[in-house]
């Protein structure tokens, strides 16, 4: 009895999320028919001419496709790795701090950029790294040639990853910190009595204690392997870095929304979704195997 009324609350809380999911993620999915059509917005989904796989043929003939898939995977994989390691190291270091007040301060401060949108951050970053910005001012003062970081196709992907990590690592740090508080202090005391050094305690108590969290975060992020971050790159890139910075999402945006090539853009987006779907299945299998993470 008690149990059932409890679960009703849960369903109620689920409702807004489900409505959002259906409206935003499931209903638009019918739009993928555009990939097989010569889509005409006036005629709509039902009366546009059906052209089968023509859009896909053209897509694979384009020289751009290989480079945008490569860029996407390259940037996304680097981001996944960095988002795993940086917050972990940071959380471990923060955890060693004795003063709770400072700890909380730092935690809040590194978390702050997470709340700013890329539109704003990109403007700030481009200014900081511009020719007249402080970074190049420093380089010049040290006698180096100034570098346009966001206009250099070699540096661009790394700048993207670094700025994204800077913006987001506070978020994962909090998850790790939460996991760390779950480790029983008794274990540390026991280890200390056994004469384990700080590093030993870290290795034998802390890390095993949060392994599940690490594996879980790692495995779940696999689903993002084709999400290199549209809003970030869109706000930072320019034609000079198309060769290394143009990703699937930005390409689809330009092709579909700026050039009105609906069919082609949808075909590329669909391909991306299919690959992502497979990766999510794999990551779910891995998650249930290594971290006991189950939905069904």
């Amino acid at each position: 009895m008690n149990n059932r009324s409890f679960s009703k609350h849960y369903y109620l809380m689920l409702l807004p999320g489900m409505v959002w999911l259906i409206l935003i993620s499931i209903v638009p999915m019918f739009g993928i028919v555009i990939a097989f059509q010569d889509f005409n917005p006036g005629a709509g989904f039902f009366r546009s001419a059906w052209i089968g796989l023509e859009n896909f043929d053209y897509m694979f003939a384009l020289s751009d496709i290989r480079s945008i898939f490569f860029n996407t995977v390259f940037i996304a994989v680097m981001k996944m790795a960095a988002h795993l390691v940086v917050p972990l190291v940071f959380a471990l270091m923060l955890n060693e701090l004795r003063l709770a007040l400072i700890k909380r301060w730092i935690q809040t401060i590194v978390y702050l950029p997470h709340f700013l949108s890329w539109v704003i951050l990109a403007g700030i970053l481009l200014d900081i790294f511009s020719f007249s910005g402080p970074v190049n001012g420093l380089l010049k003062a040290l006698g180096f040639e100034p570098v346009l970081f966001f206009a250099n196709s070699t540096l661009f992907p790394f700048m993207v990853v670094a700025s994204d990590v800077w913006k987001e690592f506070g978020f994962n740090t909090i998850i790790y910190l939460a996991a760390l508080t779950g480790i029983s202090p008794v274990l540390y005391e026991a280890a200390a009595i056994d004469g384990a050094s700080r590093f030993r305690r870290l290795w034998h108590v802390t890390l095993p204690g949060i392994t599940t969290t690490i594996v879980l975060l790692a495995v779940l992020s696999l689903g993002n392997v084709l999400n290199a971050g549209f809003d970030q790159i869109f706000n930072l890139y320019n034609p000079l870095v198309y060769s290394t910075g143009d990703i699937i999402d930005t390409w689809v945006y330009r092709e579909g929304l700026l050039n009105l090539q609906y069919g082609l853009a949808t075909a590329v987006g669909l391909l991306k979704s299919v690959v992502s779907f497979i990766l999510i299945i794999i990551s779910y299998a891995l998650a249930s195997r290594f971290a006991n993470y189950r939905i069904f």
Binding site: G44, A151, L258
Partner: protein, 564 residues
Amino acid sequence: MKKVGLLGLTLLLVFLTACSGGGSSTGPASAGADGGGAVKEETPDPFGKYEETITLTYGKSVDATDKSLPVGDTPETNQYSRYVKDMLNIDTKVSWQAASGPNYDQKVNLSISSNDLPDALVVNDMQLRQMVKAGQLADLTDIYDRYASPSMKSFIEKTGGIAAQSVTFDGKMYAIPSVQVHADGVHQLWIRKDWLDKLGLEPPRTIDDLEKVAEAFVTQDPDGNGKDDTIGISGPESGGLLYAHFLASTNNLYGLDPVFGAFRAYPGFWIEGEDGDPVYGSILPETKEALGKLRDWYAKGLIDREIGVRKDAHEPVKSGQSGIFFAPWWMGYGPLPDAIKNDPDANWQAYLLPLDSEGQFNARMGTSSTQFVVVRKDYEHPEAVVKMLNLLIRDEAKFDISVGIGYYPLRVPQSAPDESEYSAKALQEVLAGTKTPEDFNDPGYKLLAADLQNVKKVKKEPYDNMDIQYWDPQADLGVWSRQYSLLVGASTLLEDYNKVYSLLYSQTKTMESRWTNLKKLEDETFLKIIVGAAPLEEFDTFVDNWKKQGGDKITEEVKEYIQQ
């Protein structure tokens, strides 16, 4: 996750606009009766006022940096929309607004692809074609015949059929085209004459002169602030164009068109090749030569080092950092008002320079119509749009343009193609005293009477010296904007110069799917060559790829088009 968020936001916007679109479309439907009343009139009156207020919704492009609106006014409600309401009883409502340029285009594209259109819009050539193809537009053939004022008709006819052709599909007219002045397509050299004077230099006549002047501007601290912070030649901002091209042939601010012109290179234009067949200017050796020179200049620091990356190319001109830029005649409207606000001595003068090796200025010319006013199919009062444009043509001279004329609802420029040069000449003659304002009474030049009346408000003696110290912008900045643009910017066009037209100003069939990629290839390669991120030899690879990836096929199509 972020991607999903953005997608969600986009969709949410679509839903929201869908809702508001639905709401407003019921408005005019219920007011349909008075629309019938307007049609019932025996002779259609181009300026006829509706008996009952009708509503017209439209998408608005707004210049985000413009600060000319008085407090309390908005892009939706301002002196122009009130004027339209008073004179025609049309209540104009903004369905959505977006910053002019790429943002506005994107918003229009979103409207087209979701088939959720306001009653009327200003669109570009590509969008017009897409909308015609999608069957989203009202046929304006009859309405134009019946309601267009004689002035509008004469402007459109003066283009020799080009303007009408650009909006006619299968014999039906689907939009009201802009009729822009020739001058909008001629990009000339704007230079800080006060800097030249200070350094004892002359306006650069050749490419070599230009190099020397730019070098002096960069190295000799022309602004005298003791800092190494000046830019020789401004370049386009991120997303801007290195040169105007056949699909966007006018008003390319901060491009490098005249530099290409001095090499007789016309990248982005379809021109006649040596064998008489059409050829794309970007793949010719002259373009390579010009790129080589620009690359050289960039390496020497003469061109804005943030070319193609800068977020706002206006900024260095307004703040007094830049010494040279290339742009059309109307710079007095912007960015120069801000430039002289920051530095009243900034003496920007315009010249048809640099010249090619034979001493000739080569200007690529734009097409007359690059913007189009379209009306949604099923809108009850399509003639309202024509009436509003009639009114703009008739009464533009009366407006106080210190509030940007861009706030006029659905404004596209329409005027006699040679209005700028003609007005400049008239002003010169009146200032010189050889003629009087009464000598000019051709009604085809809608602003001239007011121009001639106002000129002495802002122009100080001597009347033949155009340096900034002989102007009084404070007296009336709106008047100054126009007079300075005409007398400094447009008067240069009275000289002889070589006019180069593109053979084609619209897309062919294959371009619809292939052009984006070819253009991306071009933009990326050229910008990389200029900033030194790729060797000059990359140009040859580009030419090969361009031909292979559809360029050859498109060239054939252009040839067919020309032969028709």
